[in-house]
C-alpha cells in the first residue's frame, strides 16, 4: 500500500479531465481510466521500471484521456434528455390518475387513427409487392365523351400500343380468369381430386418482367409462348398452390396441373408475396394469354378491337412523365382509329397502379376511407386538447416547483424542454396503447367484412409503414398539446412563487387558454357527433330501403360447369335439368340462375341501345345500359314483381327469337312508358340481332344502395354463352333453410359429383356486402362520436372543477354577504355554459361545412338533416349542463367560514 501514498499526477489528471465528461457516464469513465493506469503502474513496478521516465510517460499517456473525454461529449445531449426522461417518469408516477387519464385519452385518439389508417393502407395505399411499385403504370381505356366509362382494352389495341409507343420500356397485359384447378385428371371423381375454384391471370410473356418479380423456382413465360393461340399449355403457379397441391415438391417443374380440364405444364413458381396484379385478389396461377380460349374466351379475343378484356401495365422510360406517355399513347390511338373506325372517339388514360385501383364505383371506398381519416384526426385533436387542458391544470399545481427551478437558475429553455419531454413521453405511452387498440380495432374491421366467394386480400393489420406514421403522430401530438402549457408554465412569476401565491396571479391567462380549449373541444365533438348521427340515420335508411328483391328465405350458391370442361351445349342442357331437379326438392319454392346477384358488385353492361329502325350512334357514344343474365323464374325467385308481360321460359334459348325484359325506368326513358315499351324491339352494336321486350320488371337497386333509379335490362341466360352462374333458391316459409341447402348440395353432387359449389350464402348473408359500407360507417362514426362526447365532457368537467376550486374564496365571500345557493349555481353554470354555447355555435357551423363532403356516402339523409343537427345539439347541451352543474353544486357546498379562513 506504499504506492498509494506516492504522488501520482496521472490519477489527478484523470479526475481533473473527468469533469468535462457528461455526468451519466462520468463515474464509469473515471473508473476505467484509473483502473488502467493503475494496472500499467503495477506492471511497470513489477518490471522495476517505475522510474521518472516511465512516470512522465504515464502522465503523458493519461493526458490522452482528454481526447477520450472530448469524444464522450456526444453523450451530453443524450445525458440531459436522459435526466429529463427520468424526471418525467418520476412526475408521472407521482400523479398516476393524471397519467392514466392522459394516456388513455391519447391512446384512444391515436388508436382510432392507426386503425383507420391501417384499413385505408391495407386497401388503398399499400403498393403491390413488386420491384419499384411506384413506377408501375396502369391504363384506362375509354370514350372521349364520357369520362366515367373507363375500362380495359382489347388485345389488338394493346399489341399496337406496345409496338408503336415511344415512351415505355415495356407494356404488358393481363386479364383475370377463374379456373377449376386439380392436380389429377379431372375425370376422376375422387374427392381429393375434385377441382378447386381458383383465380389466376392470363398474361403476356413479358408480364413478370414488367411487374419486376422473379420466380422462386423455374422461369416466367417465354416470348415464343406469346405467339400462337393454344400452342403452349404452360403455367406459372403461386407458392400457395405449390405448397398445397405439390407439397412444396422441388421437382414440380414439368409436372401437370389441370385447369378447366386442360393439362398445363408447370414451368415456374412465384414467391409467396406476389399475388398478381389485381391488388384485392389472391391469384393462384399465371397462364400465357394465348391460352385464353381455355378460360372461356371466344376465338376473336385477339383480333376484335371492341372486346376490351385486358388490363395494361407498363414501365416508363427514364425521365418520361405520365402526361408525356399519355400523350404518346393517345397519338398512337388516334392513328389506329383512322384504320379501325370501331375505336373512334376513344382515348387512353394513364396513372400509377395505386391511383388506378379505383373506378367510379369503388372510389367510394377510397373516399370513405379518407373521410374516416379526417374524422378520426378530429378525435385525436380532441384528445390532444383534452390532455393540453390537463397539462395546464397540472402546470398550475406545479407552479411552485417550476418557480423554484427558475429561481435557482434553470433557463426557460430547460423548463420548456423538461415539460415537453413529459408530454412527448405521455404521447409515446399513448402511442403504445393506441398501437394495441389499433390491432384490436383492425381485427374488428376485418371481422366485419362480409364473406365473399373470392380469394380476396384484405390485410388491414397495421404494418411497418403504419407504425412509422403512428410514431410521428405521437411525437407531433406530444408537441402540440405540450408546447402551449410548457411555454405558459415557464413564464411563472417568481415573486409570486416566493410569496407562496403561485398559480393565482396568472390564472386569468391560463383560464382563457383553458376556456378556448374547452370551446374547441365542444366544437370538434359537435362536428364528430353530427357525422355519427348522419351515418346512423343513413344505416337505418339503408336497412329500410327496399332493394327490389327479397332475401328472406333465400339461399344462393355459385357453380361453374365450364371449370369441368363442359362445352356450351352441355351447359345449356345442364342448367334447365339442374333447375328442374332442384325444384323437386322438398321445401324449395322456386329456383333460378343468374349471372350476378344484384348489389354484389357485379358490373355487367351492354350497349349502345339502338331502337328498331334507328341508325347506329357514332362509335362510343350511345347509351350503355347495365344488365344481367337471368334464367326463367328469376323474378319469381327473387320476388321482384313483373309489372307487365311475361317471364322468360326455357324456350327462350339460343334457337329462339331474342327477347329481353327491362325495368320500368328503361321503359320510361326509351319508350315513354311501360305499356308503350311492350313488344318493342331494340338491339346493341352492329351485328347483334333485335330483341323484343317481353316483360317489364319493377324498378329496384342493382349495383349499389346509393344509386339513383336507372335503366336496367334482363337478358335470357339461355341465349348467351355462360359458365359461372349463381343459383338462387327461394325456400318455402316454414322449411328449414339449412336442411334445404344441404339437400340442394346433395342433388348437385348427384348430377355431377365433381362440381365444386362455392359461396353458399343464406338469407340475410346475401345483403352483407351491400350493407357492409353503411354498417362500418355507422359503427365507426358511433365509436368516434362516443369518444368525442366523453373527451369533451371530461374536458369541460375538469375545467369547471378547476374554476370552482379557484373561486372558492370568492364564493365564500358572496355567500357570506347573502348570495343564495341559486345565485351561486347560476353563476358557475352560466360561466361553463357560455363556453359550451360558443362551441355549439362554432361546431354547428363547422358541421354544415364538413358534412357536405360526406354527401356521396350518405343514403337517403341530407347532409343538413335537421333531426340530426338538433338532436346532437340538444344531447351535447344536456350533457354539458350536467358537467357544469356537478362542480357548481360543489361550489354551493362551500362553507363561507372555511372559505374565508383560506390563506
Amino acid at each position: 500500500m506504499s504506492r498509494q501514498s506516492k504522488t501520482r499526477p496521472w490519477l489527478w489528471l484523470i479526475s481533473f479531465i473527468g469533469v468535462i465528461v457528461p455526468g451519466r457516464v462520468r463515474a464509469d469513465w473515471r473508473q476505467e481510466w484509473i483502473a488502467e493506469l493503475r494496472y500499467r503502474e503495477e506492471l511497470l513496478a513489477d518490471w522495476e521500471q517505475l522510474n521518472w521516465r516511465t512516470k512522465t510517460n504515464l502522465a503523458w499517456r493519461s493526458a490522452s484521456a482528454f481526447w477520450d473525454a472530448l469524444w464522450m461529449q456526444t453523450y451530453r445531449w443524450e445525458d440531459a434528455m436522459f435526466q429529463d426522461v427520468r424526471y418525467a417518469i418520476r412526475m408521472m408516477r407521482k400523479a398516476p390518475g393524471f397519467t392514466a387519464v392522459a394516456v388513455l385519452a391519447l391512446g384512444l385518439g391515436i388508436g382510432v387513427n392507426t386503425a383507420i389508417l391501417s384499413a385505408v393502407n391495407g386497401f388503398v395505399l399499400r403498393p403491390l409487392p413488386v420491384a419499384n411499385p411506384e413506377g408501375l403504370i396502369t391504363s384506362y381505356w375509354g370514350s372521349k365523351k364520357d369520362a366515367n366509362v373507363w375500362g380495359e382494352l382489347s388485345y389488338a389495341n394493346y399489341e399496337d400500343l406496345r409496338a408503336q409507343n415511344r415512351t415505355f420500356v415495356d407494356l404488358c397485359a393481363s386479364r383475370e380468369a377463374s379456373g377449376g384447378l386439380s392436380v389429377g385428371e379431372s375425370g376422376s371423381a375422387d374427392d381429393s381430386q375434385r377441382a378447386e375454384v381458383v383465380w389466376g391471370e392470363m398474361v403476356t410473356s413479358n408480364y413478370f418482367d414488367v411487374m419486376g418479380v422473379k420466380p422462386i423456382l423455374g422461369r416466367g413465360l417465354l416470348p415464343e409462348e406469346n405467339v400462337s393461340p393454344n400452342a403452349h399449355p404452360v403455367v406459372v403457379i403461386s407458392q400457395d398452390v405449390w405448397q398445397r397441391k405439390f407439397k412444396s415438391d422441388a421437382d414440380v417443374l414439368g409436372k401437370v396441373v389441370y385447369l378447366n380440364g386442360q393439362a398445363f405444364n408447370v414451368v415456374g413458381v412465384m414467391p409467396e408475396s406476389f399475388l398478381g396484379a389485381t391488388y384485392y385478389l389472391r391469384h393462384s396461377f399465371w397462364a400465357p394469354v394465348m391460352m385464353a380460349q381455355k378460360f372461356g374466351r371466344r376465338p376473336e379475343w385477339r383480333t376484335d378491337r371492341t372486346q376490351t378484356l385486358f388490363e395494361m401495365y407498363g414501365r416508363l422510360k427514364p425521365g418520361v412523365t405520365i402526361a408525356q406517355a399519355e400523350a404518346d399513347l393517345n397519338q398512337v390511338v388516334n392513328g389506329l382509329a383512322e384504320q379501325h373506325p370501331e375505336i373512334a372517339n376513344t382515348k387512353v388514360q394513364l396513372m400509377t397502379e395505386v391511383d388506378g385501383r379505383f373506378d367510379a364505383a369503388t372510389k367510394i371506398i377510397q373516399y370513405g376511407g379518407f373521410m374516416a381519416l379526417i374524422v378520426s384526426s378530429l378525435v385525436l385533436l380532441l384528445a390532444c386538447a383534452n390532455v393540453a387542458n390537463l397539462m395546464l391544470a397540472r402546470a398550475a399545481t406545479r407552479a411552485k416547483e417550476i418557480g423554484t427551478r427558475l429561481a435557482i437558475g434553470a433557463g426557460r429553455g430547460r423548463i420548456v424542454r423538461q415539460l415537453l419531454t413529459e408530454s412527448v413521453l405521455l404521447a409515446l405511452m399513448g402511442g403504445v396503447l393506441g398501437w394495441a387498440l389499433a390491432y384490436w380495432g383492425s381485427g374488428i374491421i376485418r371481422a366485419s367484412f362480409p364473406p365473399v366467394p373470392y380469394p380476396i386480400v384484405f390485410d388491414v393489420s397495421p404494418d411497418r409503414y403504419v407504425l412509422k406514421w403512428m410514431m410521428v403522430v405521437s411525437l407531433i401530438t406530444g408537441v402540440i398539446f405540450g408546447l402551449a402549457p410548457a411555454l405558459l408554465a415557464s413564464r411563472t412569476d417568481l415573486i409570486a412563487v416566493i410569496k407562496g401565491a403561485a398559480g393565482q396571479t396568472q390564472k386569468r391567462r391560463r383560464l382563457n387558454l383553458r376556456s378556448t380549449l374547452v370551446v374547441a373541444q365542444v366544437t370538434i365533438s359537435i362536428v364528430v357527433l353530427i357525422c355519427a348521427g348522419l351515418f346512423i340515420r343513413s344505416l337505418r335508411k339503408a336497412l329500410e330501403t327496399d332493394p327490389g328483391f327479397n332475401t328472406k328465405n333465400m339461399v344462393t350458391m355459385m357453380i361453374n360447369p365450364r371449370l369441368l370442361g363442359y362445352d356450351q351445349n352441355a351447359i345449356w342442357r345442364f342448367f334447365p335439368e339442374l333447375q328442374r331437379r332442384l325444384e323437386t326438392q322438398p321445401g324449395v319454392r322456386s329456383t333460378a340462375m343468374t349471372d350476378d346477384l344484384p348489389l354484389q358488385a357485379g358490373d355487367l353492361s351492354r350497349g349502345p341501345i339502338v331502337k328498331e329502325g334507328e341508325a347506329d350512334p357514332l362509335p362510343n357514344q350511345g347509351f350503355i345500359s347495365k344488365c344481367n343474365y337471368v334464367s326463367p323464374k328469376y323474378f319469381e325467385t327473387m320476388q321482384t314483381p313483373l309489372v307487365h308481360g311475361r317471364d322468360f321460359t326455357e324456350r327462350d334459348n339460343a334457337d329462339a327469337p331474342r327477347v329481353v325484359i327491362v325495368n320500368e325506368e328503361f321503359a320510361r326513358r326509351f319508350y315513354g312508358g311501360v305499356e308503350n315499351a311492350m313488344g318493342r324491339r331494340f338491339r346493341f352494336e352492329q351485328g347483334t340481332s333485335l330483341m323484343e321486350i317481353v316483360g317489364v320488371a319493377k324498378d329496384g337497386l342493382y349495383r349499389s344502395l346509393y344509386e339513383d333509379r336507372q335503366p336496367y335490362m334482363f337478358l335470357p341466360l339461355y341465349q348467351q354463352n355462360h359458365g359461372a352462374v349463381t343459383i338462387v333458391i327461394s325456400v318455402q316459409s316454414g322449411s328449414d333453410v339449412g336442411a334445404v341447402t344441404e339437400a340442394v348440395r346433395r342433388e348437385i353432387a348427384q348430377i355431377d359429383p365433381r362440381m365444386p359449389v362455392v359461396g353458399v350464402m343464406i338469407g340475410d348473408e346475401n345483403m352483407a356486402i351491400p350493407y357492409w359500407g353503411p354498417r362500418v360507417a355507422a359503427g365507426m362514426a358511433t365509436t368516434f362520436g362516443v369518444l368525442a362526447l366523453v373527451l369533451a365532457t371530461m374536458g369541460l368537467y375538469s375545467v369547471m372543477m378547476y374554476v370552482v376550486s379557484q373561486r372558492t374564496r370568492e364564493i365564500g365571500i358572496r355567500m357570506a354577504l347573502g348570495a343564495s345557493v341559486r345565485d351561486v349555481l347560476r353563476m358557475i353554470v352560466s360561466q361553463g355554459m357560455r363556453m359550451v354555447i360558443i362551441g355549439l355555435a362554432l361546431g354547428l357551423t363547422g358541421a354544415f361545412a364538413l358534412t357536405r363532403l360526406f354527401g356521396s356516402l350518405l343514403l337517403g339523409v341530407g347532409t343538413t338533416d335537421p333531426l340530426t343537427f338538433v338532436g346532437v345539439a340538444l344531447l351535447l347541451f344536456a350533457i354539458a349542463l350536467l358537467a357544469c352543474w356537478i362542480p357548481a353544486r360543489r361550489a354551493t357546498k362551500v362553507d363561507p367560514l372555511i372559505a374565508l379562513r383560506q390563506d
Binding site: A35, R38, S64, W67
Partner: protein
C-alpha cells in the same frame, strides 16, 4: 445510418483486441498508436458494436485491492468486420499475437 467503415486505426485496434490485448494501454503499446487515438477508436468500435466491454467482477478487484478493470472483447460482428478489413489492410496480420500471459513489452 452511416456505414461503419473501419479506418486503419480502428482496424488495428480491433486486431489488437482480437489478439488478446484487452486494455487501452496494451493496445497502445503493441500498436504503437498515439495516445489520443486508441481511446476514441475504442469508443467508436464499441458504439458500432464491434467490441463489447465488460467490468471485472468487484470481488476480484477487491481481493487485489484495486479498482475493477474494464476489459474489451471483439464481438461476432467485430470479427466479421475485422476479416473484411484484413483484406484491405494486409499488414494487420503481422501484428503479433499475445503469446502468453506475459504483458507486452514497453516500447517507448
Amino acid at each position: 445510418m452511416k456505414k461503419n467503415y473501419l479506418s486503419y486505426t480502428m482496424a488495428l485496434t480491433l486486431q489488437a483486441i482480437e489478439n488478446g490485448y484487452g486494455y487501452g494501454f496494451d493496445i497502445m503499446a503493441v500498436t504503437g498508436l498515439a495516445s489520443g487515438t486508441v481511446y476514441p477508436a475504442l469508443r467508436r468500435l464499441e458504439s458500432a458494436d464491434y467490441v463489447a466491454s465488460k467490468w471485472e467482477k468487484q470481488s476480484i478487484a477487491l481481493a487485489e485491492q484495486r479498482p475493477p478493470r474494464k476489459y474489451y472483447e471483439v464481438t461476432k460482428a467485430g470479427r466479421t468486420a475485422l476479416a473484411e478489413a484484413r483484406q484491405r489492410f494486409r499488414l494487420l496480420s503481422q501484428l503479433e499475437p499475445l503469446a502468453s500471459d506475459n504483458p507486452a513489452k514497453q516500447k517507448s
